[in-house]
């Protein structure tokens, strides 16, 4: 599903360049539930942004579902994001002036689905995450766990092939974190590839596989159990 070949990415800083990703090679298969681990500054967010086509890379090749993702036009990138990918963020990133249902329905707005239809679909997805009764609540009337479930419903509504989650449990207590992780597992069981960036070992442990990133390099050979212990 995802294939990275010798991806390099650097940012210009005041004096010189900051080499964030160094010859990153990565294969993630269809239907995998993978975590990307690393301390802050390891480049894991940059990697996720590149995977999410929010950011570009300098050299290398990125194939998403066998399509080369390189030098895309703004419109093409937006379309890939809309149809192939779903995002879940640490800070939820719901629109504060829209209710749960409207937030979930938003990706379909950009697919020109009629308001009536997209709201009906959104309700189904809210039901799936157990928040059907809360559809008219505004984000500030929801708890953190509920907000994240709304965000997951929003990520799923466009039937993506890959869901990218950036520290999805970072702002949640452990009980809620497990609930959210269970939800990701359920999503994964439907055949959707799920990639979770986290620095929490017990979250990582719930995934099929962990990818460890340190200083922009993927560390292979190290046993998975090394992080999960």
């Amino acid at each position: 599903m995802i294939s990275l070949r010798k991806i390099n990415k650097s940012y210009k800083t005041g004096q010189g360049k900051l080499h964030v990703l160094k010859d990153v090679d990565l294969e993630i298969g269809k239907g995998e539930l993978v975590s990307i681990m690393g301390s802050s500054g390891s480049g894991k967010s940059t990697l996720l942004n590149i995977l999410g086509i929010l950011d570009t890379y300098d050299t290398g090749d990125y194939y998403l579902d066998n399509q080369l993702i390189k030098n895309l036009s703004d419109t093409a990138a937006a379309e890939y994001r809309n149809k192939f990918l779903g995002f879940v963020f640490q800070s939820f990133n719901l629109l504060s002036f829209k209710n749960a249902q409207e937030n979930v329905a938003l990706p379909l707005y950009y697919q020109n689905v009629s308001r009536k239809e997209r709201n009906a679909i959104a309700l189904d997805y809210l039901d799936m995450v157990g928040l059907k009764e809360w559809y008219h609540h505004m984000p500030n009337q929801l708890s953190g766990g509920q907000k994240q479930r709304v965000a997951i419903a929003r990520a799923l509504i466009s039937k993506p092939k890959v869901v990218l989650a950036d520290e999805p449990t970072g702002a949640l207590d452990s009980k809620t974190s497990y609930e959210v992780m269970n939800l990701f597992k359920k999503v994964n069981e439907q055949g959707i590839t799920v990639i979770i960036v986290t620095h929490e070992h017990d979250i990582s442990r719930l995934c099929d596989r962990a990818i460890r990133l340190k200083d922009g390099v993927i560390h292979k050979g190290e046993d998975e159990s090394a992080f999960t212990s």
Binding site: L54, T75, N82, K83, S91, N93, Y110
Partner: protein, 402 residues
Amino acid sequence: MHKLRTALTAFVLIIGIFSLIFLFGMGRGLSNGSMEVFGKFAKNTMFVWAQRTTIAHKGLPTGRIASLTTQDAEAIRQNFPEVEYMSPRIQLGATQVIAGDNNGSFEVRGETPDLQHILPIEMEEGRYINQSDIKERRKVCVIGVEARDILFKGNPEEAIGAYIKVRGVFFQVIGVQASVQTGDNGRNDDMAVIMPLSTGQVVFNQIDRVHYFTIACYDEINSNEVEARIKRMLRDRHDIHPNDRMGINSFNLSNQVKKFTGLFAAIDGFILFVGLGFIIAGIAGIVNIMLIVVKERTREIGIRKSIGATSGSIMRMILIESIIITTISTYIGMVLGVATLALFDYIIRTFEVESIFFSNPEVNFRLVFIAMFLMITFGALAGALPAYRAAQINPVEALADE
């Protein structure tokens, strides 16, 4: 906060549009009122009369007043083909007029048929003086509407064909005239009793006398030049020094019309300038507010982009918002402006404070629509820069800033 700022910005624009419409309407009212006075006169109209001489000439002293005559009228008519209408008039002063049991004092004038083509008067009923009346010195008269209402109190419909007595002579009423002018001039015409010039000259024992000429040249003629030549001829005929500007004096309406036209163009220009200033301030405000809006909504825009919004759709969102703000503001401003003008108009009509120089403040609807169209364009222009900024927002950075 954001709503308040938007409202305040919209307010500036509302005031701008309001003042533009309101001032334009008032300017129009001023020019309507003034142009009504001139507009109904034939174009190129001039008045020529004699005054006390100020330069001694051919052994004659100063302070003399030349007596203009019917022969002068004839001379003008024969020597000036540029003249379309020419009417000598004699003013016979306030005179007791009796009709049955009613009577009153009215200004009596002697006029000729051409005058109806020059002055802003209309026949309410009957007819004006014609050539036969002049030739045969008929004892007929035209009276103003107000004079009719006094002389035929209670039964004004009997005026036509009835006889009124002026200086012991009976005149048959052949017409009732009404001025289309407002103010004193209009009232004078409405209170006048008019007889054929030739009849008036005899009845008032002023054979051949004329007090002044009312002359209208053809439209394409330069009436200033004709005016000068007519005066030269009259000075010559009455032994007045060629440079004696008082001896034969005149007033040319076309100059006056030109002056007023220029004045109103200047007023309109000034109003446009001030109004545009307001509008530009309003638009600058909207550009500003939209830039702040974009800044405040950076995160939202980042989220939208992450879930598949194209730069184009973000741009459209900001543009539409800007257009909505300008359009609503413009609309409110226009409604307020037009409503205030209507109120003014209503007050003027109801309380009859309409003066000669102010009538029917109005704004034409074509102007309103043009303004509306412009505002939407301006809205799009005002939104263009903020929309571009919004489209350029990098989702990674937008989502990173916490």
